[in-house]
Symmetry: C2
Subunit: 217 residues, 2 copies
Amino acid sequence: MEVIVPFSTDRPKSRLSGVLSPDERRGFSRAMLDDVLDAVVAAGGDPRVLATDAVDVDRPVTVDDRPLTEAVNAALDARLGAGGEAGNGDTPEPVAVVMADLALATPAAVERLFAAGQNADVAMAPGRGGGTNAFVASHPEFRVDYHGASYLDHREIASEIGAAFAAVDSQRLGTDVDEPADLAEVLIHGEGRAAAWLREAGFALDASEGRVAVVRE
Amino acid sequence: MEVIVPFSTDRPKSRLSGVLSPDERRGFSRAMLDDVLDAVVAAGGDPRVLATDAVDVDRPVTVDDRPLTEAVNAALDARLGAGGEAGNGDTPEPVAVVMADLALATPAAVERLFAAGQNADVAMAPGRGGGTNAFVASHPEFRVDYHGASYLDHREIASEIGAAFAAVDSQRLGTDVDEPADLAEVLIHGEGRAAAWLREAGFALDASEGRVAVVRE
């Protein structure tokens, strides 16, 4: 299955600016991207990076500097059928879109996403706070709108076009790394480059009060 | 499978005190408990409430006013074998412990926990922030310690006693409702009494800025 991985090369992860410098945010974002690409490949997917600018990565890259929603919809147009009409009336091949900041993604979690996408027209892993972290779509008319509570909007879109919808219940796919509190999740559960990057940068878990936080040495 | 559901009748959900009165916190906690009990029963489990004081619920109740760790370990002693020794050398029947504030729990999510517990000595669903939201154990020596980053501690305990460990990757089981931000998850994904309780109390989603929050009318 082709898996589109949107990646912003421009001021990535601004909500981590309180704990990481601009250069560090670029390095950490890249480590997360590499983890996601590894998990997708290990799950049998064919990843393609959808980047806002050129990125040096050992996978196919499409550069599209439009906002996320438009860039992803252009990719869906090209795969599921332009203008919501499949060219030949057949069900299109499923295509996945998996965000580049899912630093906890494992092959097993991505495999569950793929499997759900075989049994539904739209299978989706919600992020914390109502976001859309990953989905598989095979319905020719499904398009995205990433603004606001996009998970609820996407369920509504699927309903409107008569697409069978399945939710994928995964904490690993549901954890997008945006805020300092999310870094604790990477240190607790991460097994790849992003977790190693954080440890190398001096981050450690601090369990001294209630929910675990991170501290930097 | 017997499923122990710890429930605090004493000042429940204090971290929601900024948005809910003491009476409201009691009502909301009870709605979450009922949702968890429903999901356990629908998944084929036999729930038993492990409460700090008497609670009027249509399920078996054990009252134990000790702190959570001690009360759960007493229950594990009674089921898995006292002092870490199974009475007859056989592998004990698996027993589950599922927290009462998992308002997003569904039968399917609980079934995945049960299934994981058939294939491992300890199967565990981590909560956000390193907590332990639900587990199944059949190893006679497994005991809990809920302080701090308990998920990591429990993995370590399992390793020390030679118990095969499996993580259960579920956002529904991973979402314990402790803080105001967690209420948004209930409104987005909840299908039971807790979500209805919040709506009745005037809570609604507010997607006007980035991650979805809740507002109260």
